[in-house]
């Protein structure tokens, strides 16, 4: 496998969503390619950074409005 092949599979490789033989081919390439090793590491870190991040604040007013709306809805449905 060459560098372009790793690039096309890096996402599935991270997810473990490749055939065992293909995983071995990727691993074999990574042993000798520093650039692709960095690509895999940095792509993995990219996913992790976003997973761990909380980019949006949840405004309290939105929370209050949601609960008021739901409370009205629940009351209304029960009538």
């Amino acid at each position: 496998m060459n560098c372009a092949g790793v690039m096309r599979r890096v996402s599935s490789y991270i997810d473990g969503d490749l055939e065992a033989t293909v995983i071995e081919e990727v691993k074999l390439h990574l042993k000798t390619c520093q650039e692709c090793t960095l690509l895999v590491q940095q792509t993995t870190l990219t996913v992790k950074l976003y997973y761990d991040s909380d980019l949006v604040d949840y405004p309290q007013e939105a929370q209050v409005r949601l609960h008021e709306t739901l409370r009205r809805k629940i009351r209304g449905d029960r009538k």
Partner: protein
Amino acid sequence: MYCATLAVRSIQPGLLAHLAKAPTLSSTNPHRLPSSVAREDEHLLVAAAKGGDAGAFEELVNRYERKIFRLTMNITRNREDAEDAMQDAFMKAFSHLDRFHEESRFYTWLVRIAANEALMRLRKRRPNQFSLDEPIESEDDFVPQQIEDWGPSPEQRFAQTEMRDILRGVIEELPHDFRIVFLLRDVEGLSTEETAGAVGISEAAVKSRLLRARLKLRKKLDTRFRQDGKH
């Protein structure tokens, strides 16, 4: 908040005891969502809510409202639309609880509803900027490039707020099609199949968009980390 108290008061005592024993969360696995706790007790809350226990439904709302707002906000990038989409998602979930047959987790079902609500608003506001069609494949994403080490861990190099700004700025630059798939898969933790169902595209398209979204984000972060790391 009224609802947390109300929820606790009206849930069955047995259910509360079960919730109290639930294990704590781990935040290390990027594809663990929403939590092991939720998966274990969610069905009890759903069953209670289906049986007319408003407190149980409120507990589900309390549990997921922040995540659902994050999702609708990330998709619409408009505060008003995000709030409307979140409200409508919970209202629909409540109204259609009887149609939820627990083939999936409640959270996944809720995310699908919320994603649909948010996408509907996005399409209405930007009809020409979002399509379900496969985006034109750009070979540029796959051209091997010189990749440099990011050096000491970016998580340690940048303050939390600074990192948040970088991540937010970078994801905003992604085209909608890629951003939405990335958000559902890598931020909300949906499976490929669930993401495909929520967006209305094939699983192959999800994988293709996710690959390109991740590659684009890595590349953009690379620029930012090396640029901002120099000062």
